[in-house]
Symmetry: C2
Amino acid sequence: MSRLRFKISMSLDGFVAGPSQSVDDPLGIGGMRLHEWVFNLVSWRAQHGLEGGEVTASDSVVGESVTNIGATVMGRNMFGGHPGPWRATEPWTGWWGSNPPFHHPVFVLTRYAREPLELEGGTSFTFVTDGPEAALEQARRAAGEQDISLAGGANAARQYLTAGLVDEMEINLVPILLGSGERLFDGVGDDLHRLELVRTVATPNVTHLKFARR
Amino acid sequence: MSRLRFKISMSLDGFVAGPSQSVDDPLGIGGMRLHEWVFNLVSWRAQHGLEGGEVTASDSVVGESVTNIGATVMGRNMFGGHPGPWRATEPWTGWWGSNPPFHHPVFVLTRYAREPLELEGGTSFTFVTDGPEAALEQARRAAGEQDISLAGGANAARQYLTAGLVDEMEINLVPILLGSGERLFDGVGDDLHRLELVRTVATPNVTHLKFARR
């Protein structure tokens, strides 16, 4: 059966975004520091049409994380746009332009109903108003034999973690402090629902901690 | 010059002790889960007169952490006993009995003055009321060419981290959630004061993240 897979970059003090997140600054103040390790990877740069960069042990981890994904679930905050009901004219269509990098069906958790969006390159956005389990169920049907990516943000991730629905979690632990912002595990409690550390990949800039149900 | 070295076990969600710490339960509820990785090491068991256990990559990390230490600084909470002024009769003399495992001078941060204690095996406890820098200065004189161990607890560690006085920090990251309790980095801010990740040792039960000033 397809597995729900989740990856996120987290600071040593547990933050996955800086304070004061907004449409103009979706990562929050200092939040970009969580992602610097990825921007210099050959694999990331090639994906984005850039030359150069470094080959590190992170390349294969990142490569693995985007392989065999047939559908994505994400929270409204990750999809972005202004909070509250969708605007009737020129509604927000995501951060990713007319040809988003998913190339498969994406299911967005929201309290506000909306018609699905069909964009270029095989990406669709379906808006699900009846909760994370319903969104996962729809994603499972769309993914077929492949896995499902839980793309975030932190609030959606917490809902799936708390419900014990995450099958695989890759924490990219960045050896910095953010000091404030949004914590991944706030309110999740003390139960990882049988997610165990199954692999550690160490680099100077990031430690990849892979958890899975054994 | 002697270096101030600090090691601590921390959960994936950033806690170094569980909730409801007390004299009877100094690690707080669930806090013992942070230390299970160590109790099964051959080296730890041998130190405590026990046979058996496992040899893992953690053994050398633990061995290194207790080598070349000439003095220790710790907070009042780590030294233990009831909070507030020292009792006049039968005052608290620490958790460690008449022959504590330090075997060198220990400097305890406290707001309450008290005569030094000389115990067996070379361990003394000196109570320092004029702040963490003064305690470190005294420890430096006592340590000579050797290093100084910052033994905790979290509150004392935060004071030294915030002041930028820590030269080496080993985070033993335990792949569990505690959900609540005492966070190591609460209020420390976003500045590691040039402490950088210099070594990662991975095992299934703990990830040792060593930080040092390059």
